[in-house]
C-alpha cells in the first residue's frame, strides 16, 4: 500500500489562479491610469502596478480570512517589493556594463596606452595597457604589505591573544570604515606633501593597503577562529613551540580560508578610485616603475574618461568598468569556490 506524500499547506491551484487574476487586473488598472492621466513612461506604470497588486492581494486575503490575514499578505507583498527593489539596480548595473562596456574594446585596446591620444579621440585609438600594468603593480605591492600585516593582526587576536586584543579588534573594525579618500589624503599628507617626492605607484599602493589590511584581518580572524582548538593543543602536546604550531598546524589548516581573505581584500581595493587621485598622478603613458613617477591605473583611467565627458570618453569609461567588473567577478567566483570545497579537518 503506497501512500503519496502531499503538502496541503501549499497554495492550491485555485488560490494561485485567483492571485494571478488579481495581479493581471492590477496591471490593467495601472495601464489605464497611466494612459489616461499625465504620467508617462514605464516608471509610473510599474509603481502603480506594484501598489495596486499589493493592495488587491491583501484585500482578497482580508475578505477570505480576516484582518490579520490581510496584514500578513501586505507584509509578504512588501517583502517581495523589497527584494525586487534590491535586484532592480543590480540587474540594471550589470546590464549597462555589459551592453556599453564592449563598444570601446578593439584589437589594440590592451596593447596601447593613452599617451598619444586624448580621451575624446576615436575609439580605435589608444588603449588601457598603462592602466592594466599600473593596477597590477599596485595590487602586487598592496598584497605584499597587507597580507602579512593582516594575517599577523588576525594571529594576534586568535593565537597570542595579547593585551589590548579587544581594543585592536575594535580598531580594525573602525578602520574598515575609513573613507577611501581619507586613506589617500593621509598618504599625500605624510609622504608627498612638503617632501619633494612626487606621485608614484608605490604611494597609491600604500593608500590601498590601508583599506586592504582590515578586510584581510577580519576575514582571516574569522577563518582562524574556525580552526578547532584541538589542533593547536595537539601541536603543543607534541612539544612544538607556539610559532611552530601556528606555522605548521594552524595556518595550513586555515589555508583556503586565508586565501579567501586575501582575495576579498583584493576585490575591495581593485576598484578604488579616490585614494589614487591623491597619490598616483594618473599617467597616460606606460610606466613600469612603481617607485617613481606618475602611474596610470584602471580606476584612474575610468575617472579621466568620466571627466572628459565626450561620448568616446564615456565608452572608454564603460570599457574600463567592464574589465574591472570581470576582474571582481573572477575574484568573487574564486573566493566562493574556495570556501565551498573547503574540507573540515
Amino acid at each position: 500500500m503506497t501512500v503519496t506524500p502531499i503538502k496541503p499547506w501549499r497554495a492550491t491551484k485555485r488560490d494561485i489562479l485567483t492571485q494571478l487574476i488579481v495581479i493581471f487586473l492590477s496591471l490593467v488598472a495601472a495601464y489605464l491610469i497611466v494612459a489616461n492621466t499625465g504620467f508617462e513612461g514605464r516608471l509610473p506604470l510599474v509603481a502603480f502596478f506594484g501598489v495596486f497588486s499589493i493592495c488587491a492581494l491583501a484585500l482578497i486575503s482580508g475578505l477570505q480570512r480576516g484582518k490579520e490575514a490581510a496584514k500578513d499578505s501586505f507584509l509578504a507583498g512588501a517583502a517581495y517589493v523589497g527584494v525586487f527593489a534590491l535586484l532592480l539596480p543590480v540587474v540594471s548595473i550589470l546590464w549597462t556594463v555589459v551592453s556599453r562596456g564592449t563598444a570601446a574594446i578593439y584589437s589594440g585596446f590592451f596593447t596601447t596606452d593613452m599617451s598619444q591620444d586624448p580621451f575624446s579621440s576615436p575609439l580605435t585609438d589608444g588603449g588601457i595597457k598603462h592602466a592594466l600594468i599600473g593596477t597590477l603593480w599596485l595590487i602586487t605591492i598592496a598584497l605584499i604589505i597587507s597580507v602579512p600585516l593582516g594575517i599577523l593582526t588576525a594571529l594576534y587576536l586568535t593565537e597570542t591573544k595579547g593585551p589590548g586584543s579587544g581594543l585592536i579588534r575594535f580598531l580594525v573594525q573602525a578602520m574598515s570604515g575609513i573613507p577611501s579618500i581619507v586613506a589617500g589624503l593621509f598618504i599625500y599628507s605624510a609622504l608627498i606633501s612638503g617632501t619633494g617626492r612626487g606621485f608614484s605607484g608605490f604611494m597609491g599602493a600604500l593608500a590601498l593597503s590601508i583599506l586592504m589590511i582590515p578586510t584581510v584581518a577580519r576575514t582571516a580572524e574569522e577563518v582562524l577562529k574556525l580552526v578547532p582548538p584541538d589542533l593547536r593543543e595537539a601541536g603543543l602536546a607534541l612539544g612544538a613551540t607556539q610559532w611552530k604550531t601556528v606555522a605548521l598546524v594552524v595556518l595550513p589548516a586555515a589555508k583556503s580560508g586565508l586565501v579567501t581573505a586575501v582575495i576579498l581584500g583584493v576585490a575591495r581595493i581593485a576598484g578604488e578610485t579616490a585614494p589614487l587621485l591623491f597619490t598616483t598622478g594618473g599617467a597616460d603613458a606606460t610606466n613600469l616603475n612603481p617607485m617613481d613617477d606618475n602611474m596610470g591605473t584602471i580606476p584612474f583611467y575610468i575617472w579621466k574618461a568620466l571627466i572628459d565627458g565626450s561620448p568616446e570618453a564615456a565608452s572608454r569609461a564603460w570599457a574600463g568598468i567592464f574589465i574591472l567588473m570581470l576582474a571582481v567577478l573572477a575574484l568573487f567566483g574564486t573566493a566562493r569556490y574556495l570556501s565551498r570545497s573547503r574540507t573540515v579537518r
Binding site: 501512500v3 503519496t4 506524500p5 502531499i6 503538502k7 496541503p8 499547506w9 492550491t12 485555485r14 488560490d15 477570505q64 480570512r65 480576516g66 484582518k67 490579520e68 490575514a69
Partner: protein, 310 residues
C-alpha cells in the same frame, strides 16, 4: 494490526465515565500477575480523577496520518480518536515519531523544510488540512506546550500570559480577569500575582513552564498538546505540572508525549504506544492506561512497559 483495531473499538465504546468502571475492575482483581507496577499507579490515579464536569468538545481524530521529512518516512498510518476531556499519553522509545505525530495535530510539522504528510486530522469532523483552512485559527483551538519552556523574554509575566491574545489580535473584554484565570488554572497565580510586571525570564524552570501553560490557555484552546513538558524540569516542578494537567483535563483534551512511563501512568486516562522498528513509527496499541500497563495486548507493548527495551 488487529490489536490496535481492537483497542480502538473498545475505546470508541467508552465514554468519559469509564474511569469508575476501571476502578471497579481493579477491585475485582482482574489484574494479570505479570503486569508492571505501573498498572497499580494507573489505577490509583484513575481513582482520584472524577469526571463530573462536562468538558467542551474536542472531537480530535487522526485518520491514517503519515509524515515525511523529505524522503524519510517518519510516521505511518496513525489512526487515533482522542476521547474528549481526557488525557492521552503517547509513549514509546526515542525516535519512534511521537513528537512528529504530535506536531501533525496542530500543523506545526509543516514548518520543517521538506515536510510532507498524508491522511487527515479532524477537529469536530472537519479536516484541519483541508484547502482553504485558516491554519492560525486551528492553532488557537489546538495549543502546544514545548519541552523547553519558552516564555518571551522581552515581555513581562503578565504580558506573556496575554501574548496569544496580542499575537492573534483577539478581542477580550476583561484582560485582568483572563490573566488571573489562566495563571490560576496553571497553578501559578499565587506565586506571581505580586510580580506580574517582572520579565518572563526571571522565573525558575518549573514556573516558566507553568507560565507557558497559562499562556496557551489564554486563547481558549479545546485541545492542549504537550511535548515532554517535564523532561527539562526537576521532580518538584514535574509534580506541580502533573497536578495542573489533571485540572486542565476537566475542561479540555490533553495529549501528552512522554518518555517517562511512570508519568504516563500517573497522569493519563488513555495511552498510545508507538514504535518504530527501523522504519516509520507506527501505532502499536491504544487503550486505557490501566490496561496498557497491566494487560497489554501486543507483545511489543508488553516488552516496552515491562522495561525489556527502550
Amino acid at each position: 494490526m488487529s490489536d490496535d483495531m481492537l483497542g480502538k473499538k473498545e475505546e470508541n465504546g467508552m465514554n468519559a465515565t469509564t474511569a469508575a468502571d476501571t476502578t471497579n475492575s481493579i477491585a475485582s482483581g482482574a489484574d494479570q500477575p505479570h503486569s508492571s507496577g505501573l498498572g497499580a499507579v494507573a489505577a490509583a490515579s484513575a481513582a482520584k480523577r472524577t469526571r463530573t464536569e462536562q468538558p467542551f468538545g474536542s472531537g480530535l481524530e487522526a485518520r491514517n496520518v503519515h509524515a515525511w521529512f523529505g524522503k524519510y518516512h517518519a510516521i505511518s498510518d496513525m489512526s487515533l480518536d482522542f476521547p474528549t476531556g481526557t488525557v492521552t499519553a503517547l509513549i514509546g522509545p526515542s525516535g519512534c515519531g511521537k513528537s512528529t505525530f504530535l506536531r501533525t495535530l496542530n500543523r506545526m510539522h509543516e514548518f520543517i523544510p521538506g515536510a510532507a504528510m498524508a491522511g487527515e486530522v479532524l477537529l469536530h469532523g472537519k479536516d484541519i488540512y483541508a484547502p482553504g483552512t485558516d491554519v492560525t485559527k486551528i492553532r488557537l483551538k489546538i495549543g502546544m506546550v514545548f519541552q523547553k519552556p519558552n516564555p518571551f523574554p522581552s515581555m513581562t509575566i503578565g504580558e506573556n500570559v496575554l501574548a496569544g491574545i496580542k499575537l492573534a489580535q483577539l478581542k477580550v473584554s476583561d484582560k485582568k480577569e483572563l490573566l488571573e484565570e489562566c495563571l490560576e488554572r496553571a497553578g501559578l497565580w499565587n506565586e506571581v500575582k505580586d510580580r506580574l510586571d517582572q520579565p518572563g525570564g526571571s522565573l525558575s524552570g518549573g514556573q516558566q513552564q507553568r507560565l507557558c501553560i497559562a499562556r496557551s490557555l489564554a486563547v481558549r484552546p479545546e485541545v492542549l498538546l504537550m511535548d515532554e513538558p517535564c523532561s527539562a524540569l526537576d521532580p518538584g516542578s514535574t509534580l506541580k505540572i502533573e497536578e495542573t494537567i489533571a485540572e486542565l483535563a476537566k475542561t479540555m483534551t490533553v495529549i501528552i508525549v512522554t518518555h517517562n512511563m511512570q508519568q504516563a501512568a500517573r497522569v493519563s486516562d488513555y495511552t498510545a504506544f508507538l514504535l518504530s522498528d527501523g522504519g516509520p513509527g507506527q501505532l502499536i496499541e491504544f487503550a486505557p492506561t490501566r490496561e496498557i500497563f497491566t494487560r497489554p495486548k501486543d507483545k511489543r507493548t508488553e516488552n516496552y512497559v515491562t522495561g525489556r527495551f527502550g
